[in-house]
């Protein structure tokens, strides 16, 4: 499908189609390997601070890869009630802390809204993996009676949505999406659909954490991890020396609101989610990458021309072939070196579903502060990646009104989102 036909296409099915409220972001919460809390993280990003280091949460010395992006300084007991501690994996504890920050930042009190007006749509790639590993170990080694009753939901992909919903009384339309790294954008798009159907507020985005042996071997088995032992040289998106990715944990949750409702309560607005599209790659045998199509469709959805895009937040795989494919997709849309491109995830590693929602948060802060955060590690883009990559230090002095965020999820998922100031 061409971008033009997407412009002509009705956007939503059903009776709600005539009303297209604008979806705006009014609150942001973050847990990232280079900063816990939105402010700490963004300050670190602008300083180009690397959050990648030797894995500490378990002994990885027997594994072929030993670097990760771990969220520093997170004390679960400071953020999670006692009753919830026994029934939650680390990923849910992080999600609860991040959701609270986002809601506080939005200044929104869901209790003041009608009962079903507010919901939660998150993305998750692994659910509560560490919890699941522990209970499976109990099952094999000791027997079924040693498995926690809370395993029934603590491992599950939807658990973060559920616990956030229960804690904050967000009883409106909710859900979970599982599309790996693309999920952070796919969830926000689903939240936007719920606003179009009548919800007034949705907590959305993604947080992932699976830095346990079971999660680690899943990465190892895929064979795309960086085996480098140097945190500053391990994850080098678009570099000729790119050698794989470093996994990390964390992500961002956003409060997405109907623009009118946000305006009515005098909320501060970071920007709007103006466009979105998702595509799926053909089978690996037939080859081809549909990321560029997702980007073109997202621009069309936003009614934005490529020359109106001021910055692109790249998916930044850190593998030669995938980097080339993304560089090609960007160049086809914008021309070679035709738009500033950045990859702040070079400081965090790839956070699965958390990665793309964190990039959305970065894009929104970029628009607010009129600064493009840098890509670190990579010293210059490879010759076959003809990008205007923002490297080393932040770029200022460019007017930033529109940002494009790209994401690819393992298994062929592509997503693109356009945010505007």
């Amino acid at each position: 499908m061409s971008a033009t036909s997407a412009l002509d296409r009705p956007h939503e099915d059903g009776p709600g189609a005539t009303r297209r409220p604008q979806a705006v972001v009014t609150g942001i919460g973050v847990a990232a390997p280079n900063g816990f809390g939105a402010r700490a993280w963004w300050d670190a990003v602008l300083r180009g601070e690397n959050g990648i280091g030797p894995l500490t949460c378990f002994d990885a010395s027997g594994y072929p890869a030993q670097l990760a992006g771990e969220v520093p300084g997170f004390v679960p007991e400071d953020h999670v009630r006692s009753r919830l501690m026994a029934q939650t994996d680390r990923v849910t504890r992080l999600s609860l802390a991040v959701a609270k920050e986002a809601l506080d930042d939005a200044g929104a009190d869901p209790a003041e809204l009608p009962e079903y007006a507010a919901g939660v749509v998150t993305s998750s790639s692994a659910g509560g993996f560490e919890f699941g590993q522990r209970e499976l170990q109990a099952l094999w080694s000791q027997g079924g009676q040693y498995v926690s009753a809370y395993q029934s939901f603590a491992w599950f992909y939807a658990v973060n949505t559920g616990q956030i919903s229960i804690l904050h009384g967000l009883r409106g339309a909710s859900g979970v999406l599982v599309t790996e790294q693309a999920g952070g954008l796919d969830a926000v798009a689903q939240a936007r659909r719920q606003l179009r159907k009548g919800s007034s507020l949705v907590v959305t985005g993604g947080v992932d954490s699976a830095l346990c042996p079971w999660g680690w071997v899943a990465h190892v088995a895929e064979g795309r991890m960086s085996a480098s032992e140097d945190p500053d040289r391990a994850f080098l998106p678009f570099s000729a020396s790119a050698c794989g990715y470093v996994p990390g944990e964390g992500g961002a949750l956003l409060v997405l609101e109907d623009a009118e409702a946000a305006r009515a309560r005098g909320a501060r607005v970071y920007g709007s989610v103006a466009g979105y599209a998702a595509t799926f790659d053909p089978s690996p045998e037939s080859g081809g990458c549909r990321l560029g199509a997702a980007a073109a469709l997202a621009l069309a959805d936003a009614g934005v021309r490529p020359d109106q895009v001021d910055v692109v937040f790249a998916d930044a795989a850190g593998e030669r072939e995938a980097d080339r494919a993304e560089a090609r997709a960007i160049s086809e849309l914008f021309g070679e070196r035709g738009v500033p491109v950045t990859a702040p995830k070079s400081m965090t590693g790839r956070l699965s579903a958390g990665g793309s929602s964190l990039d959305l948060a970065a894009a929104l802060f970029s628009l607010r502060d009129q600064v493009i955060p840098p890509t670190i590690g990579t010293e210059r883009p490879a010759e076959d990646c003809p990008l205007d990559l923002v490297i080393g230090t932040p770029r200022t002095g460019v007017e930033l009104r529109t940002a494009l965020v790209l994401a690819r999820g393992r298994g062929g998922f592509n997503a693109a989102a356009v945010v505007r100031a």
Partner: protein, 87 residues
């Protein structure tokens, strides 16, 4: 014979399911409902798993569900303990 006491229960409740804010498990809770203490059926299932493992008894699921207060729950466990001793 060793009896299963209230303090045994509160230790296992805390470890299995945490403790609600505003609830004092060390207070006079014998006749306060588990719901009132902030424990749902899953919390009781989890706690019961610990009781069964650590005290070497098997409790009837239905009876656990019907034990609404610590007093009733203690009776249930102690009955199972004495039946085990008698057997």
């Amino acid at each position: 014979m060793t009896r299963f006491e209230l303090t045994d229960l509160t230790v296992l409740l805390r470890e299995s399911a945490g403790e609600n804010e505003g609830v004092d498990l060390d207070g006079d809770i014998q006749d306060v409902s588990f719901a009132g203490l902030g424990y749902d059926s899953l919390a009781m299932l989890q706690t019961t798993g610990r009781v069964e493992r650590e005290w070497g008894v098997l409790l009837d699921d239905e009876a656990v569900f019907e034990a609404e207060t610590p007093r009733q729950y203690l009776e249930l466990v102690n009955r199972a303990l004495s039946e085990r001793t008698a057997a």
